[in-house]
């Protein structure tokens, strides 16, 4: 597909006989926001895990800007410019908010850091800026486990924000937020998209999906059932029936 930054071809994964993902094709086009939609257990998170290398696929191909990345270790894939968030956030609980973000800026943290003091100061600067944007500046010294729910969501975003990754894979980033926080959150995402980030998000809240997404990929039981413009997908009665409660076995 033209402009495809990340392309997934024929990706499959089985867990003990259960087909979690069955030959899924998908493309993330530069600057386009794709929403992964589907009922629980459709395999959305598994798809993220396969792309990021947390799970190795049984078959299929993943390419980042034409370079095959299937079989690479997660940290290598991350360093190539794919950032992801987790549904359960997985913050670094016993570290401070600042260190959570700062740590995301040091992927190759070694016994010593390249660039010396100046680079270190730059990283700190960037961290403070990210905290500022996500409204966490006042909490920079607090431990992540001590944050409120909404604050943890923003911290998770801040960690991705600083990485300057080209692709963001976000797993229900805004779920459970109150309307005000949600608006703030969506605004931040839009800013990022405007700055050229390619976003793929898993989202159950269709309001957010319609507000953000340019395309929707619909997954059910490991298969991609449809992909297209949000309006078209959300009008398909069959998909809506699956989504909203066709009784599943």
């Amino acid at each position: 597909m033209p402009g495809s930054l990340l392309s997934v071809r024929g990706l499959s994964k089985e867990f003990g006989g259960v087909k979690a993902i069955q030959s899924v094709d998908m493309d993330l086009v530069e600057g386009v926001v794709t929403a992964l939609v589907g009922p629980n257990g459709a395999g959305k998170t598994t798809l993220f895990n396969l792309i990021c290398g947390h799970i190795s696929p049984d078959a299929g191909e993943v390419q980042l800007a034409g370079r095959p990345i299937r079989g690479e270790r997660p940290h290598t894939i991350a360093r190539l410019g794919i950032a992801r968030s987790f549904q359960d956030l997985r913050l670094f609980g016993r570290m401070s908010v600042r260190d959570n973000v700062l740590s995301a800026l040091e992927p190759t943290a070694w016994l010593w850091q390249p660039g010396g003091r100046r680079a270190a100061r730059a990283r700190l600067h960037k961290t403070e800026a990210a905290l500022e944007r996500t409204g966490l500046s006042a909490l920079a010294g607090a431990r992540a486990v001590d944050l409120s729910y909404a604050e943890t969501k923003f911290l998770s975003l801040a960690r991705i924000l600083v990485t300057e990754a080209r692709i963001w894979l976000l797993d229900e980033p805004a779920s459970g937020l109150d309307p005000v926080s949600r608006a703030r959150f969506v605004a931040l995402l839009k800013e990022a998209v405007a700055a050229g980030v390619t976003v793929c998000l898993i989202e159950h809240n269709l309001d957010i999906v319609t507000e953000l997404a340019d395309r929707i990929a619909f997954l059910d039981r490991g298969r991609k059932l449809a992909e297209g413009e949000p309006a078209a997908i959300l009008r398909d009665p069959e998909l809506i029936a699956i989504y909203f409660g066709e009784p599943r076995r």
Partner: protein, 292 residues
């Protein structure tokens, strides 16, 4: 009296290094090793052999002890990369038991149960440092260096990387951390420091045998770190002082029958471990939990 206090202070310093080094694993990297006495022992034997056969130079012997322990730490890093949690504890237990057998059977290297006797008095770059004051100074120096080295590492990106892995391995990976490399280095650092402590221990006692490197020792070390506060710089030192000075302090209490001191001490130490874990699981030196 001074000599007794000096001896105790030197031992406390050596165990301080040990606890601090174990803290790198337990507190920062989240690698719950109960095989730390193994690396203490490797360092002690290596240092003692250098002192016995080459020169009794603390620096050289410590280097040898630290290096060998660091190399052999791969035995611990390997399971640490494969498994976590209870499985890793089990693996390190296995390693500990295995190595104790090797220590007691490799007569030519370790002297078996008879141990290595007559380790010569220590010197440092040609200067005799075997007097209690001098040797304490050497040990305090080593402890200070270790603490500074750990503090610098843990304040920097490396430490943040380790703690990130400790708190969430998958998130750390997703942010580009090379988890196997970081873990391996952390284990190597912790174990080589333990090796240095082992060498100092060998010089201090002038006699070592396998009884100092058993599972009980590993558990004592672990208790020092946990009781003091894992993941804090000074916690392990607090734990070391408490657990090491406890028997000495108990033996000064006149109303405990001398014959029962050992039992009472173990009892107190066991009870302290259990109660602390129930009421203050983060350890004595850890800041109290914030809002929650």
């Amino acid at each position: 009296m001074t000599a007794y206090l000096l001896n105790l202070a030197t031992l406390a310093t050596i165990f301080g290094i040990l606890a601090a080094s174990l803290n790198v694993l337990i507190g920062y990297a989240g690698i719950f090793s109960v095989a730390h006495a193994v690396f203490f022992g490797v360092g002690a034997y290596a240092g003692a052999q250098v002192a016995l056969n080459l020169v009794p130079d603390v620096l050289l012997a410590s280097l040898a002890g630290g290096l060998l322990s660091g190399l052999l730490s791969l035995c611990l890093a390997l399971p640490a990369l494969r498994v976590r949690g209870e499985y890793f504890v089990a693996a390190s237990l296995g390693l500990q038991m295995l190595v104790v057998t090797v220590f007691s059977e490799a007569h030519s290297l370790t002297g078996g149960h008879g141990g290595l006797v007559g380790i010569p008095p220590a010197s440092l770059l040609g200067i005799d440092v075997s007097s209690p004051w001098h040797f304490l100074a050497v040990c305090v120096g080593a402890l200070a260096l270790s603490l500074v080295w750990i503090a610098i590492l843990m304040r920097g990106g490396f430490g943040r990387g380790l703690m990130a892995i400790r708190d969430s391995e998958s998130a750390a990976e997703a942010l580009g951390k090379n988890v196997p490399a970081l873990k391996t280095i952390a284990v190597a650092i912790g174990c080589s420091l333990a090796g240095v402590a082992g060498t100092l221990f060998a010089f201090q006692l002038a006699f070592i045998n396998v009884e100092s490197f058993t599972l009980e020792q590993s558990v004592l070390l672990m208790a020092m770190v946990i009781i003091g506060g894992a993941g804090t710089l000074l916690g392990p030192l607090v734990g070391t002082l408490l657990l090491l000075l406890l028997p000495a302090a108990l033996s000064f209490i006149p109303f405990i029958p001398a014959t029962e001191i050992g039992t009472v001490q173990q009892l107190v130490y066991g009870l302290a471990m259990t109660l602390l874990m129930i009421f203050r699981p983060a350890g004595l030196a850890a800041p109290s939990t914030g809002r929650r």
